[in-house]
């Protein structure tokens, strides 16, 4: 009894994961420190900026208790530059943000959800892992905090289409033993492409499998009959008839 869900994560699940990303807000109300399961939240003192998880920021924004500061990469100029890069280089994606200097050996290695890649002091020149879903969510909930939300929306749309087209193109080389570099692909894009790519690979595998099966059957038969050369194959068939 399998769950009727496609393999991998569904878009709501990816969005849920994205809500762990830290974003910068400017609170408009004091709030005491909170001790949460996910970790403590510092007290909010307006107009001091604070970094809080996206889910908390969205909650405060909806209640008009905070303004969200969009990350620097989510503004027209960097997005235009990235879009240019994407259209210029047809076969690779724009590189992901540079990792900070490797921490000393005794701490856990950093991974994207725990890196401040979407706060106000993040790098402006690269798209982080959760760029698409974060951008969509911020544009939906806090469009008034953007300087030029319309062009940001347009650029995000453009980026998404260019990159999806690349992903689909990549499938062409996914034949036997083919490879396709996916450095810099975001979470939502992976989730979207997963069904398609795995479907294609599965199909290819099936086609290959049936051929394989035939070949294996033939081999077995040959072994059972004790023949080794194909030269006598015709005779054998004749005999069967």
């Amino acid at each position: 009894m399998a769950l009727p869900l496609p393999p991998g994560l569904t878009p709501p699940e990816i969005a849920f994961l994205c809500e762990m990303e830290l974003v910068t807000i400017i609170p408009r109300q004091r709030l005491e420190a909170l001790e949460l399961l996910g970790g403590p939240l510092k007290p909010l003192v307006p107009p001091q900026r604070a970094s809080v998880p996206l889910w908390h920021a969205l909650l405060l924004k909806r209640q008009r208790r905070a303004n969200i500061v969009p990350p620097p990469w989510l503004s027209p100029e960097p997005l235009t530059a990235i879009l240019d890069h994407e259209t210029k280089y047809g076969d690779t994606f724009s590189p992901p943000p540079r990792l900070p200097p490797a921490p000393s050996s005794n701490t856990l290695p950093f991974a994207p959800p725990f890196l401040p890649s979407s706060t106000a002091d993040a790098a402006a020149d690269a798209l982080p892992y959760h760029w698409l879903e974060l951008g969509e969510m911020l544009l939906e909930a806090a469009a008034d905090d953007f300087e030029d939300s319309d062009s940001v929306r347009k650029l995000l749309r453009g980026l998404r289409e260019v990159r999806m087209a690349k992903l689909r193109q990549g499938v062409e080389v996914l034949d036997a033993a083919g490879g396709f570099e996916m450095t810099g692909v975001g979470g939502m894009e992976l989730g979207e492409a997963r069904a398609f790519i795995t479907g294609v690979i599965d199909g290819l595998r099936k086609i290959a499998a049936s051929r394989e099966q035939q070949k294996r059957d033939r081999d077995r038969e040959e072994r059972e009959n004790g023949y080794s050369g194909t030269a006598d194959y015709d005779d054998d068939e004749m005999e069967m008839q």
Binding site: I26, P27, R28, Q29, R30, P47, Q48, R49, S51, P101
Partner: protein, 871 residues
């Protein structure tokens, strides 16, 4: 004397739209219309006009220089004609679609062509191969208009947007898109959406859909006053008088109105027009207005301005009708600074009137000089603008126009100048902006901001907005006193207004909320005393005045102290709890500017900490803001974008200015190209207990924040040690390295970079530490503060340890001296830091260093706190 003569139209062209222009010298008037010829009228003569034949038909625009003129036609050609030979010269542009307007730059070198094509061509009149193309508009263009300097071009598009281009560049760039001003018009309609640049160069006007003439300032693109024309149909033409003091408008309701620019009142309305006027032109010097009608007639209206107002036309260039003239200055104080190139007329010095029995009035007009010179006036024709035939003003004297503005722009005055006039720093209120349109910011702090909006009918609306909307409630009130300064903190708001109409200057304090009823109070200053700057702290109200008094009140309006400031005139003040900082102009330095001096005192203890000490500013730099940080340390921000703090300010003679942040070196400006400045608000701690500089980011060349102000930004403090360009190059190189190979060189550079960061952190931390320890030694420290001090010490030691690590990791052995120095610098409050240092040395097997550290440890244990022993 001129008698009111019957205005007689001349049939210049056959029935149809007709246009006209004067040559810049006012000698000739050129008309063009449906017929295939243009007519050139000589000004002041009744002779038959000269016809210029072989023109195109259906001409739609004309522009003239002194010796040539240019017409545009519906068949798409723009032709140039000579005025000397009255002949066709050449075709400058051939457009595929009808030409709608042409405009000539003031120097006559460039002609802008508006046609039904989307592109505006700007062609050199001498060399038609030099073409600039303006392509930003989406629809066809109706009008084009150069400003008085020829550096900007306004393009009125049929999509209802005005595009302003900067023409100084090789490739003109659009600098502003003005939406919702002009009406959306059909390309062939006879209505006008033309932008009229005001002669003073700081504003332009354009007809709006509401049949008004809306004025817009060009420094901040804010709508200023408008002329409510009252025409019953849309405006078809309008023109400023040559000195900008009058405006003529006309519409298809057959009225021609004359407006006074200063009051925006109607002076005269001519309603006996026979047909719709298509174009208006003022004569460049005389009281004559000419217009052409849609039926092809030309009217030359001498004495257009009625005699009772004719003197307005004689005035020098008048300012455009602003709500609040920007030249009023930031603090509303009367200033003598002039806008660039504006001729200044003293308000109290009117046009000199005839005295009784003066020579002129006795002799009568026929003996006046200019009458005699009439024939000789044309002797020298200034046709290339070189200035050898200087303009003559109303008194028959040469103007001082060739001298430039009164104040020379360079700070250095010429030695030949007989009068030595020091340059004083003008008083300002920290955080206040000048008027921008009808709005202005009075004060901004970390609590919120105070802004004021001037309303019709001589009152303002003051708005107080808080960042923390739930602790405090936003409020606004109608303000009849016209408050122009404000202070805001956690407890209340302070306002002050200038003396006006016999009312003295007034201070108004309004607490936010108290446990009793709210006790706001007002105090009047003595008559004749105006407010230079005010400051509000948690316990006092400080007012510095024009008479150099510093008046200190308690929060309940009780005058606590009044004294005269030693350095004068007063510039500004700031306050925090019991501390008051006042800044005034001190002695004049070698470059003719006054040095700024500050005084800090504690009001409660009645103790002066720093008396008339110098505010350290590099030459040609102004003070932009003075404030106390949230921790109570004085900070200044200068016009170079450097933030400085005062270290050891509680000890007399020990104070010095330490740069804490140079905004030119900010990492966000590394890439270059980003033009922005910062409006300082405060220095406070952020969520991670680090000191940050709160400011508003001003985009482009803006100097003041808009209202409502942008969101506050935070920048960590960073003592300027290395220049940002260095860092940028470093980073670039690093990236190159990363992409190529991670070789030894790259990693060592990275280490160097990190070391620089640590050094920076060390300097910053030790500055903050000494500031904090000073504060603690002068106040009763709280537990938190003490803990903070210890934390800071540990932080410093940690930074030193990291630096030590780098030192030891360095391959060369001979750097042990520096490593030892780092160890000796450690505060080592808990005695563990030296242990750690020992461990680091052990790890890198630096035997000698270990020995030395052990020595140091022993010395510490012995309690030998040596203050620099002479060995």
């Amino acid at each position: 004397m001129a008698f009111p003569q019957q205005l007689r139209g001349k049939q210049a062209h056959v029935d149809g739209p007709t246009f006209l222009t004067y040559t810049p010298d006012g000698k000739k008037l050129i008309t063009t219309g449906v017929d295939p010829f243009c007519r050139v009228f000589s000004h002041g003569s009744d002779e038959e006009p000269t016809n210029v034949d072989d023109c195109q038909e259906n001409n739609t625009a004309v522009a003239a220089g002194n010796d040539f003129f240019i017409t545009g036609s519906e068949d798409g050609t723009v032709s140039k004609y000579s005025l000397e030979s009255n002949r066709f010269e050449e075709i400058l542009v051939r457009s595929t679609l009808p030409v709608r307007d042409v405009a000539l730059s003031p120097d006559g070198n460039w002609v802008a062509v508006a046609s039904d094509e989307l592109v505006v061509y700007v062609v050199n009149t001498k060399d038609m191969l030099q073409v600039k193309r303006l392509r930003d508009q989406n629809r066809s263009v109706k009008h084009v208009s150069f400003d008085r300097t020829g550096t900007r071009l306004a393009v009125s598009c049929t999509d209802g947007i005005v595009y302003i281009y900067d023409m100084e560049l090789e490739e003109p760039e659009m600098i502003k898109k003005v939406e919702s001003m002009i009406k959306i018009l059909e390309p062939e309609s006879g209505l006008s959406s033309k932008v009229l640049w005001h002669p003073d160069g700081r504003a332009f006007a354009a007809p709006t859909g509401l049949r008004e003439m809306q004025v817009m300032s060009t420094n901040d693109w804010e709508q200023q006053r408008s002329f409510k024309t009252g025409h019953s149909a849309d405006i078809t033409a309008a023109a400023w008088s040559p000195n900008g003091a009058l405006l003529a408008t006309t519409s298809s309701d057959l009225c021609l109105s004359l407006w006074d620019v200063k009051t925006q009142k109607l002076l005269k309305k001519y309603d006996d027009i026979k047909a719709t006027i298509q174009a208006i032109a003022w004569h460049p010097t005389e009281n004559t207005l000419s217009y052409t009608q849609i039926d092809g007639r030309l009217y030359i209206h001498n004495d257009f301005v009625p005699p009772e107002h004719a003197n307005i036309l004689q005035k020098p260039i008048q300012p455009a009708p602003f709500f609040h003239d920007p030249s009023e200055g930031r603090s509303n104080a009367a200033t003598t600074a002039l806008a660039n190139g504006t001729k200044y007329n003293l308000p109290e010095r009117r046009q000199r009137e005839d005295t009784v029995d003066s020579l002129d009035s006795l002799l009568g007009p026929e003996f006046q000089d200019d009458e005699q010179d009439e024939e000789m006036a044309d002797f020298v024709v200034d046709d290339d603008g070189a200035g050898y035939a200087p303009a003559v003003n109303g008194h028959g004297k040469r103007t001082n126009g060739h001298l430039g503005p009164l104040e020379s722009l360079s700070k250095r005055r010429s030695y030949t100048s007989a009068i030595f006039k020091p340059q004083l720093h003008e008083p300002f209120q920290p955080g206040a902006t000048p008027w921008r349109g009808n709005r202005r910011l009075l004060c901004c702090s970390l609590i919120g901001y105070v802004s004021t909006i001037s309303q019709e009918g001589d009152h303002h609306t003051v708005e107080v907005k808080f960042y923390d909307e739930y602790t405090h409630r936003n409020f606004h009130f109608t303000d009849i006193y016209l408050y122009d300064k404000a202070g805001l903190n956690d407890h209340g708001t302070l306002f002050s207004c200038q003396p006006k109409d016999g009312n003295p200057a007034r201070i108004y304090y309004r607490p936010h909320e108290t446990w009793t009823t709210r006790t706001d109070w007002r105090t009047d200053l003595p008559a004749g005393e105006s407010v230079a700057a005010i400051a509000l702290s948690e316990s006092y109200v400080v007012v510095t005045t024009s008479t150099n008094y510093v008046r200190i009140f308690s929060l309940f309006g009780l005058p606590v102290r009044v004294y005269r400031q030693k350095s004068s005139p007063a510039v500004t003040c700031a306050a925090w709890r019991d501390y008051v900082l006042t800044v005034g102009n001190g002695p004049v330095g070698g470059d003719g500017t006054a040095q700024l001096l500050y005084t800090i005192e504690n009001v409660k203890r009645d103790e002066v900490y720093q008396s008339e000490d110098i505010v350290a500013l590099p030459p040609n730099t102004n003070l932009t803001s003075v404030f106390f940080s949230a921790d109570g340390d004085p900070y200044i921000y200068d016009s170079d974008g450097v933030l400085l703090t005062l270290l050891h300010w509680r000890t007399n003679g020990q104070a010095r200015w330490v740069p804490m942040l140079d905004t030119k070196c900010l990492s966000r400006r590394l890439g270059g190209g980003k033009e922005e400045s910062y409006w300082p608000v405060c220095v406070a701690r952020d969520a991670n207990d680090k000191h940050v500089f709160h400011c508003m980011i001003l985009k482009g060349s803006e100097k003041y924040p808009t209202n409502p102000p942008p969101m506050l930004s935070e920048f960590p403090l960073e003592v300027p040690l290395s220049s940002s360009i260095d860092k940028a190059r470093e980073r670039e190189r690093e990236e190159d390295k990363e992409t190529m190979s991670d070789d030894e060189d790259g990693s060592s550079r990275k280490a160097e970079n990190q070391q620089q960061m640590l050094e920076n952190q060390y300097v910053l931390l030790s500055t903050l530490h000494s500031q904090l320890s000073e504060t603690l030694s002068h106040t009763r420290p709280t537990l938190d503060q003490k803990r903070d001090l210890v934390n800071k010490e540990v932080e410093i030691d940690k930074t030193l340890l990291q630096l030590l690590n780098f030192e030891c990791a360095a391959v060369a052995e001979d750097r042990g001296m520096k490593a030892l120095e780092l160890v000796t610098l450690m505060k080592d409050t808990n005695g563990k830091m030296l242990e750690f240092a020992l461990k680091v040395a052990e790890r890198y097997r630096k035997e000698v260093l270990m020995e030395k550290i052990r020595d140091l440890q022993e010395k510490k244990l012995m309690g030998g706190e040596d203050d620099g022993d002479f060995v």
